[in-house]
């Protein structure tokens, strides 16, 4: 069952690479949030109950509901154009993401650890690399935030594969930090309006030597 969810997760990565609309990307984030919730529910059953509830609630509320809603609101409020505007075309992005997934397979197997959960590790690394790729290959700043969230989703998946041994208070702190950072990104994104109407990363190039 968990494997099925993981496979759907990797399909969302492919979809993220080719999707041309901003809202599709955000809906993908929402789907990923629900998938992570499902994986946590199945995988972490043996964990301490209070800790498990904290993780489940935070995954569901933050990742699947709050963050996508917040991003959509930011897009509406700032009248950001709804197209993704990549530097690299959709087809080429698809090829690059496939290569990244193969690389994660190679990385996983070269680490020579006796994982019982090789697939988690691979998909987590694929998500991390795909998030980074989305950041460098898209013009809009909001797509960078989406890439960052995909990267964070990958990290959450990786922490599930470890069995998440962090104590509850640490988990809560980590998730809170990530939530606050996304909120701050949204806040400063709306401030970038004063520099450039286009919200493109090329407008942030004043500071240099």
């Amino acid at each position: 069952m968990a494997t099925l969810l993981i496979i759907i997760f990797i399909i969302t990565l492919f979809y993220a690479a080719i999707s041309g609309r901003m809202f599709t990307l955000i809906n993908l984030l929402m789907i990923q949030g629900f998938l992570l919730f499902g994986v946590a529910l199945i995988e972490l059953r043996e964990m301490n109950v209070v800790n498990l509830i904290v993780i489940l609630v935070e995954t569901l509320v933050f990742k699947a509901i709050l963050v996508p809603y917040f991003l959509k609101r930011t897009i509406r409020q700032n009248n950001i154009k709804r197209e993704v505007e990549p530097y690299i075309s959709g087809f080429n992005s698809l090829i690059i993401v496939s290569v990244l997934i193969i690389l994660s397979f190679i990385l996983t197997f070269s680490l020579q650890q006796n994982f019982h959960k090789v697939i988690y590790f691979t998909v987590a690394f694929s998500a991390i690399l795909t998030g980074l790729f989305l950041m460098v290959s898209r013009k809009k700043i909001i797509t960078h935030i989406i890439g960052y969230i995909i990267l964070e989703n990958g990290i959450v998946l990786l922490s599930f594969s470890v069995g998440n041994e962090m104590p509850m208070i640490v988990n809560a702190g980590i998730l809170l930090d990530i939530l606050v950072s996304v909120l701050l990104f949204g806040f400063f994104l709306s401030k970038i309006r004063y520099i450039s109407k286009e919200f493109e990363i090329s407008s942030l190039s004043k500071l240099k030597d």
Binding site: L111, Y148, P167, N171, G173, S181, F185, I195, D209
Partner: protein, 476 residues
């Protein structure tokens, strides 16, 4: 005690956001400074702490905690002066002061944390709380620098978190009681999966390089320096860099008995050398005075990275170097705030003749230059001497020689601009000088610099003992 401390500072920060009266701010900030100092004294005397699963008091944390307490007092004084002169709106002042309190609190957390996850949480909290401080002047440059800093820093720290998770995976067979630095040090001796540890260490170093200001992600650190208010720059350049150092050094100590010890030294050697190289190259082009001093910080942090790699006596030198650097750099940045207030520009070519304007401030700059360039009686002469001698004996002769050449170049450039600022005729009659700077504002900085020279000439025995304890768990 520690819980009380964190709750108190959260309450003070919340009150500052709610009550935006000027008088309240002038009461709350000194109160916070006193709390910080008392808390540090308490830890210094008792040497123990509650919540020992997550926090620990050791010599390394204690040194930087004490430095932070000193800086808290001076930075709050300078911040209040800065805010008074700028005549900001009450809202902006409240944001500034509340962020400053949370920022200092999270740095305190980093210095004391023993649990790997807790360290990460507090390190990320420093990133988030500094955002409004960098953004304070609300110029387009400030928005750009803030965006870059929080975004790159968050991504970098995500990398560090991946590294921490990889460490967690690599010890999955050897179940230890807690995921803390003190417990894990013995576990890693028996881990044979080298590639896992190597990947983990390199991700952790890349992540914390934002904080420490060394090679891969140092650029956002410099941008943050150049636009932030001067008291904040002083913090970024000293205590925040110490945060990065403490994080990296704790991981280094933890892994120093494992199979990858030699490999870690190579990584840090490359990072240190590249930091110094980039600092030297960019110093040629620099036109902004604050960026100039920021690059000097990068160079010093590069030296510290080299010192960790060289080992032996250089570990001692690294910590001592950071103590001196913290005291000197904060003084320079406070003075910088006064220079900028007088000339109303950060451009190095428009500033000149400062010694006649403010002789005490000029003296601060001269002392700072002497200390930074490592001319005796500066303690940096001794620390750099120890670092180089240990590099020679460690077989890094070529790197050491190249670094010495680069340092000569950096000292030449720094000297050129420092003395231009102080003594050259101000060629810009177009720049209307601002208000007169009071001499008394520079006196605390002068005291701080003289203290640095005092420590250099006669280091107090308890300080030497602390520094020795900080590095004693490393292999001989």
């Amino acid at each position: 005690m520690i819980l009380v401390y964190f709750i108190t500072i959260m309450v003070i920060a919340a009150l500052l956001m709610l009550i935006r009266k000027r008088t309240f701010q002038f009461v709350a900030m000194p109160a916070f400074a006193i709390i910080q100092v008392l808390f540090t004294c308490d830890i210094f005397v008792r040497r123990q702490i509650s919540f020992s699963d997550y926090f620990r008091v050791d010599a390394l944390g204690l040194i930087f905690l004490t430095l932070l307490a000193i800086l808290t007092v001076t930075t709050i004084i300078q911040s209040l002066v800065y805010l008074e002169k700028r005549k900001d709106t009450p809202e902006h002042r409240a944001h500034y002061l509340a962020s400053m309190i949370i920022f200092i609190g999270s740095m305190t957390g980093v210095f004391m944390s023993d649990h790997l996850g807790v360290l990460w949480v507090f390190a990320e909290a420093t990133t988030l709380s500094i955002a409004l401080l960098i953004y304070h002047e609300r110029t387009p440059e400030a928005i750009e620098a803030t965006w870059k800093y929080i975004f790159i820093s968050s991504i970098g720290l995500s990398f560090s978190f991946i590294g921490i998770l990889l460490l967690d995976i690599s010890i999955s067979g050897f179940h230890s009681a807690m995921f803390t630095f003190s417990d894990l040090q013995h576990v890693f001796i028996s881990i044979q999966n080298k590639m896992m540890l190597q990947l983990a260490f390199i991700l952790i170093v890349i992540g914390f390089s934002v904080k420490m200001g060394v090679f891969p992600l140092h650029t956002v650190c410099i941008d943050a320096h150049s636009v932030a208010p001067s008291p904040v720059s002083a913090m970024v350049s000293t205590s925040l860099m110490n945060v990065g150092f403490v994080a990296i050094f704790r991981f280094y100590i933890m892994l120093s008995h494992s199979a990858v010890a030699a490999w870690m030294n190579h990584v840090l050697m490359i990072i240190g050398f590249l930091s110094i190289l980039f600092a030297a190259i960019y110093l040629v082009k620099v036109k902004n005075f604050k960026r100039l001093i920021a690059y000097s910080s990068i160079e010093n942090m590069g030296l510290v990275a080299l010192a960790i790699a060289a080992g032996g006596i250089a570990w001692f030198a690294a910590v001592f170097h950071l103590i001196l650097h913290t005291l000197v750099k904060s003084g320079v940045f406070y003075q910088m705030g006064q220079i900028i207030r007088y000339y109303k520009t950060k451009q190095v070519y428009l500033i000149g003749g400062y010694f006649r304007v403010n002789p005490v401030g000029g003296l601060v700059m001269i002392f700072a230059f002497i200390i930074l360039s490592g001319i005796p009686p500066s303690g940096m002469f001794f620390t750099e001497f120890m670092i180089f001698s240990s590099m020679f004996s460690g077989g890094y002769t070529v790197v050491a020689v190249l670094v010495m050449l680069l340092l000569c170049f950096i000292i030449y450039t720094l000297g050129k601009y420092f003395f231009k600022t102080l003594f050259s005729k101000s060629e810009q009659e177009s720049v209307t000088p601002g208000e007169k700077i009071s001499k008394w504002e520079s006196v605390p900085q002068l005291i701080m610099l003289l203290l640095t020279i005092g420590i250099s000439i006669y280091p107090p025995p308890f300080l030497l003992e602390l520094v020795r304890q900080a590095v004693e768990t490393l292999p001989k």
